[in-house]
Symmetry: none
Subunit: 288 residues, 2 copies
Amino acid sequence: MPPQRATTVAERLRLMSGELTAAERKLMAALFANYPMAGLGSITDFAREADVSTPSVLRLAKKLGFSGYPAFQEDLRSELSAQLQNPIAKHDRWAAEAPDTHILNTFATAAMENLSGSLKLMDHRAFDAIVALLADRRRKVFVAGGRITGAIAAYLVTHLQMARPGVSLMPAAPAVWPQYLIDTAKNDVLLFFDIRRYDARMLDLAASARERGAQIVLITDQWISPIARLAVHSLPLRIEAPSSWDSNIVPLFLAEALVAATVNASWRETEARIAAIEGLSDTGRRSK
Amino acid sequence: MPPQRATTVAERLRLMSGELTAAERKLMAALFANYPMAGLGSITDFAREADVSTPSVLRLAKKLGFSGYPAFQEDLRSELSAQLQNPIAKHDRWAAEAPDTHILNTFATAAMENLSGSLKLMDHRAFDAIVALLADRRRKVFVAGGRITGAIAAYLVTHLQMARPGVSLMPAAPAVWPQYLIDTAKNDVLLFFDIRRYDARMLDLAASARERGAQIVLITDQWISPIARLAVHSLPLRIEAPSSWDSNIVPLFLAEALVAATVNASWRETEARIAAIEGLSDTGRRSK
DNA sequence: ACATCACTGTAACGAATTTGACAGGCTTCA
DNA sequence: TGAAGCCTGTCAAATTCGTTACAGTGATGT
């Protein structure tokens, strides 16, 4: 454990720069030349880079208050990861007049980080492949969600049903699943939202569906549901929130993006359908 | 020398994700959970982080085409330093390797703008006042949503029910609303999600509830539902999306923030309840 | 039920790293 | 000029690390 995380290594170095010896200044220069990457290799590499001996590096690390070279490196790493986490986030407060610590602001920061973190690691080819499956009208589509994610699944189904026929929501009760499975043909699509605590019965459902030849698609969290090994495509998302429960903002984002992309992918057929729905639902409904 | 710098480690990993074994997927998840820092420590640390053996780490590195673990690390480092060179550059592209015009990117931009736009205009005192209403256990809480926002309403109810008793979802069918209204006492809370096209029957419901003395709370869009004039608090949100439909990401955000704030506001009473629910739901359910 | 195959962890080896001890060299001041 | 003190590198010991070999396990298919 590093002595004080109050400040960065660079900061500490600058503070001590007056008391540094010649070799230590060379090290400091080498580290700043490409900070902090130069310090992330072995102590030997770092020493060679600065053209000093390895013990000099060790002495510098100890002078900075670290127990040894690995401790020094660990500090550099955590510093770096902290820096990477807020590319933009800490700019300013989100909600104009609320304090930084107001839950609206902490939640907004978490949501932004979840979204950008999810997208950075997302495989957009998998996304496109899922859209292709959803846009293929020869396949029936079933969507399943757990106790919490059920609402997201329902949301997706509501929208997909406007975009194409043959879309159903898997009911929450496992007892009725067989009735849906029996109608599942080969190559139909079964899309799961499965986020921790993963439901064992969802895994069973996925296994049964897969046996019948269904294409399993999985939307999960960064810890990855066990359904992943049955799925043709899985998308892991970040869902952490400053709350007792996880955040489903990113899963909802993905649901909306999937719908929009599916509509785009088959606009010819979808356009007429949407228009028809508009016509039907305008009756007895006031619009803006 | 690494085999190909044409692509990032994350990218290569995603490309091979289909051919990964269970242990390798655990490693991938661990690496992505804290990318790329998790891979910059020792092979032992990385293995422990992912809860696999050290040889499994090595096997993954070789599978990705590296000569050994150090080569893998070197690639991560150079990738990282390349990324650090453009501090802001790739900020506009959210999904790292998808084109700017990919729907994931356009949607992400819209979502970010909606969120920050909503928060800039939000009255955090109204938010706090709503939380105070929701946290007051003497009041029953009813939540109503329209055809689309119903899923968000259901999501809010699912979570609020974990935080406190006396929370119900207004069913979609207007026919059964009287049964709920009859149980509405003075000062109970009726929270609406109402987004364009505003449903006339929702307005009727709000009017009836208000006559009975209920406190009406409204979450709506920037064009503001007519329910607003009946409500004690309204929060207008931005919901525009590059899609045929509006985005409900910000409404969901608000729902989550309301839940978290409500839990905080009455933590003393809520803590035990959450623990009890955990205890009940752990039975017959697998955890992570 | 059996055999095969792929996967995973344990254990042990060699290599590289980190660290401490020591001695040479430079500077400083009497 | 000489001596003291600090700084620095060389060297070797100890530790940790990366790697290989092997055996156990579970899944798959005959």
